[in-house]
């Protein structure tokens, strides 16, 4: 089944696609509306464990919305409502009575603009840990050190732990946000264009970090940069006008996509 929208032929709903290995998060037939305007049309997407899945597509195609749906961040927008199912193992994320705190602890998020809390670096990382577990002072110190080291920022901040997190540079702030996210030991990390506000050097550092994080976490990343998706991700989903048009291994999407539309997008001829 396919239909024509805006002069392009797109499949009316995505087929469920298999990925290698275990599936961490499963999205099935997700429709989403902002008020009367539909933003997602029957999206289905599997997220494989310990892999990087990237979502690409032109602006306004719904990739950030889809990402924010994965930890129910869209609930903060009052006019947003949805239909469909997202499940993470046994837990159904889209359930009405779902425990949002538990879900968001398990699915951390890094945002487009670095947004550390206006607290000290120490408290930035320690806050979430203190919230979910009740560590002793030494345990907390150890967790914070470990998280900062994993986020590759320890060397830069180890002697200024009580400076404000907001006093760091943009790239450092973003890595601090990543440290804050991984400190609570999530299963999945969602990244919403984490490098769009950063310079090339900071971007390279973050990309390297993503590849490193893959060993312990499952990463889903929304990006505008095709080259970034190609560099860091194992699976790529291409979205267009609220539909997941094509999904597959990154190599295949970039070298030999099934649809003409995808090919034109990844080669930079539109979007």
């Amino acid at each position: 089944m396919s239909e024509t929208i805006g002069g392009e032929v797109v499949p009316s709903s995505t087929r469920l696609l298999d990925v290698d290995g275990e599936i961490d998060l499963m999205i099935e037939d997700l429709d989403l509306w902002y008020g009367d305007k539909q933003a997602l049309y029957g999206v289905s997407l599997p997220i494989a464990r310990n892999s990087v899945t990237s979502l690409i597509g032109p602006s306004g195609c719904g990739k950030s919305t889809l990402l924010r749906m994965m930890n129910r961040m869209n609930d903060l927008i009052p006019i947003c409502h949805y239909d469909g199912k997202i499940s993470m193992g046994e837990t159904e994320i889209t359930a009405k009575d779902a425990d949002l705190v538990k879900i968001r602890k398990g699915i951390g998020m890094v945002f487009q603009r670095p947004n550390p809390f206006p607290k000290s670096i120490y408290d930035n990382v320690g806050y979430g840990v203190k919230l979910h577990t009740k560590p002793t002072g030494e345990e907390l110190d150890a967790i914070i050190e470990k998280s900062l080291k994993r986020a590759a920022i320890w060397d830069e901040v180890s002697d200024r732990m009580h400076d404000l997190g907001t006093s760091l540079s943009g790239g450092q702030q973003q890595r601090l946000c990543i440290a804050r996210t991984i400190a609570v030991e999530p299963d999945i990390i969602l990244m919403d264009e984490p490098c769009s506000a950063l310079d090339p050097i900071a971007t390279a550092a973050i990309e390297e970090l993503i590849l490193e994080l893959k060993k312990d976490f499952t990463v889903v990343i929304v990006t505008h940069s095709m080259s970034q998706a190609a560099r860091v991700s194992d699976y790529t989903g291409f979205m267009y006008l609220g539909r997941l048009v094509e999904f597959g291994e990154t190599d295949k999407i970039f070298s030999d996509p099934e649809l003409e539309l995808t090919k034109r997008y990844v080669t930079g001829r539109f979007g």
Binding site: N71, M73, L76, P78, V101, K102, I103, R104, K105, G108, M109, F111, R113, N115, P116, F117, P118, S120, Y122, Y127, G128, L131, H132, S158, D159, R160, M161, H162, D163, L164, T166, S167, C177, R180, T181, V184
Partner: protein, 571 residues
């Protein structure tokens, strides 16, 4: 293209003009404000007397030392031939000192020759003259070497009684008239050295914290591992300062706080040094220490504020008897103070704060964060917005009906401090709610998202992230509302604040059956200006200055806090 250029140019000009007009307007407003303040100060230094056309005694006090009076015999009455026929003027000097009440009359004979005069000297034995001769239009002085204010009253003589001509009669013209009314630096207070040492310690520590140097840090380094001891020592020292002090209460309290804050600073520095050492860093780079002291900016801000405030009371020995020691004296204006009114104001403010802040902040959070945006919420919002614009006297009527009166819905608190505080609290609520909502709305969405993103509940997001970020705005709104309350007289007139009381107001009198009477500074000013005696008018001016100083202090605290938090959020 050309037209667009022209337009842009004109636009730029217009914008420039608007900018200029705006800044000029602001500058003029500021200047007018300064002018008014100047007039106030001038009024207290040189009271303006209503000048009679005929004979009249005027008193002025241009830069005369304390308790000295200058008299001028102006326009004595003359007959058709230009000869004087005025009766002698009798002036009565009165004062109260440790030897009891003194009353001395001096007869002033006015003669025709100008520049002839005799000065009067007042000491503890009395007045050195009983009869003097003074030429017409000649200034003469009364010098006083005693410490207490002396009142001067004209007993007899050609004061224009004014019944026929319409000039008011002046029967008393007392003036000591300088800042001595407000401030007292007579050094009567005995300061314990403990307070001064506390202040100096804090000063040194603030300097160390502001510019850390290796040499000073080496000394503090020796204290590491004894952090509990530092804390304990500061508490003990504070206690000692407070107990052994027999000077001013304010100075003792501030000295105690100085000790505690010094302890906190030392504790934090020692902690920072330990942290640096555990990382294997050397002390040779003291600038690194800046970054390892927890909340250094906050500590610095609070201790600087404390240092500044206590500087007035500890090293400068400023005492303000006008505010905190003297009650109103019914007969002698310059022996009066606003103690009762000052404490009344403080109590009303405290009760108003206690009532309004929790409710209003809660309401603001509920309306902005929790309430669903439905019709009821919108209605409440509109009502709150309108309430902020309701004239204060209406709140006075509300307070009268609900808090003061017994019948109907009334709580029957009577015209008491409690009723006044509750009324003022109700008046402040809409202002604080609106300021709080504004502050909450200005918290960036990204901050909420990042907090939700690591798994906070709604309450945790509000309590740990949104509220601290909205704090500067809320605090500013609150302090501004409190300043407004402080200067408000209208609702309290309705409630029934008294013109004059000779005891400290009891905050809970309405509940335990004490004397409910109270007054506040604005009311005191209002009643003093209504007195016929001019001397009370300069007292009203003095009270105004005291009120303005209190307001400036409160607003400065608001500004400092706001800047501090803003820097923290923006940096």
């Amino acid at each position: 293209m050309k037209d667009i250029d022209k337009l842009q140019k004109r636009n730029r000009k217009l914008r420039g003009l608007t900018e200029l007009a705006g800044s000029m307007g602001l500058a003029i407003t500021g200047l007018i404000g300064l002018l008014f303040l100047g007039i106030l100060i001038w009024q207290i230094a040189e009271p303006t007397f209503i000048e009679g056309e005929r004979g009249e005694i005027t008193a002025a006090s241009e830069s005369i030392p304390e308790s000295n009076y200058r008299f001028k015999w102006d326009f004595p009455t003359v007959d058709e031939n230009g000869k004087l026929y005025s009766d002698p003027v009798v002036v009565r000097f009165q004062w109260n000192d440790e030897n009891g009440f003194h009353s001395h009359d001096v007869q002033i004979n006015v003669i025709d020759t100008r520049q002839v005069k005799t000065d009067i000297y007042i000491d503890s034995n009395g007045v050195d003259q009983t009869e003097i001769e003074v030429g017409r239009k000649t200034n003469f002085n009364a010098y006083s070497s005693i410490r207490v204010p002396v009142s001067v009253e004209q007993i007899s003589g050609p004061v224009p009684n004014a019944d026929k001509t319409g000039y008011p009669s002046v029967n008393s013209f007392v003036i000591t008239g300088d800042v001595h009314i407000l401030l007292d630096d007579e050094n009567e207070q005995v300061f314990q050295p403990m307070e001064l040492i506390a202040w100096i310690t804090l000063l040194i520590l603030v300097i160390v914290l502001t510019w850390p140097i290796v040499a000073t840090l080496k000394i503090i380094q020796k204290l590491k591992g004894r952090r509990t001891l530092i804390k304990l020592a500061s508490y003990v020292l504070a206690g000692i300062t407070f107990v052994v002090s027999d000077g001013m209460f304010v100075a003792a309290a501030l000295g105690g706080i100085c000790w505690i804050v010094s302890g906190v600073i030392l504790y934090r520095i020692a902690e920072g040094i330990e942290r640096l050492e555990s990382l294997g860093r050397e002390l040779s780079e003291p600038s690194r220490l800046k970054h390892s002291i927890s909340d250094r900016d906050g500590v610095l801000m609070w201790s600087r504020m404390l240092l500044f405030t206590s500087a007035l009371f500890i090293p400068l020995l400023i005492d303000i008897p006008f505010l905190t020691e003297r009650y109103q004296d019914i007969f002698i204006p310059y022996a009066s103070g606003i103690r009762a009114a000052f404490y009344g104001t403080i109590w009303v403010m405290l009760i108003a704060m206690f009532v309004s802040i929790p409710i209003s902040v809660g309401a603001a959070i509920y309306l902005d964060e929790y309430a669903k945006p439905n019709r009821t919420t919108k209605l409440i919002q509109a009502l709150v917005t309108n309430l902020a614009g309701v004239p204060s006297i209406v709140f006075g009527m509300f307070g009268l009906a609900i808090f003061v009166k017994q019948d109907g819905f009334g709580w029957g608190l009577g015209p008491s401090v409690l009723a006044a505080g509750l009324t003022m609290g109700v008046m402040a609520m809409p202002i604080i709610v609106l300021a709080g909502q504004e502050a909450l709305r200005s918290v960036p969405r990204t901050l909420r998202e990042s907090a939700y993103g690591i798994g906070c509940t709604k309450w945790e997001v509000t309590k740990d992230h949104v509220l601290p970020s909205a704090m500067p705005g809320m605090m500013t709104g609150t302090i501004l509302a409190m300043s407004r309350i402080m200067g408000e007289a209208a609702p309290l007139v309705v409630i029934g604040a008294t013109a004059m009381i000779l005891f400290d107001p009891e905050p809970l009198a309405a509940l335990n059956g004490g004397n409910v009477n109270f007054t506040v500074i604005p009311i005191q000013i209002y009643f003093w200006t209504a007195e016929p005696d001019h001397a009370w008018h300069s007292m009203a001016a003095a009270a105004s200055i005291a009120l303005i100083c209190l307001l400036i202090a409160m607003n400065s605290i608001a500004i400092v806090l706001r800047q501090h938090f803003r820097k923290r959020l923006k940096s």
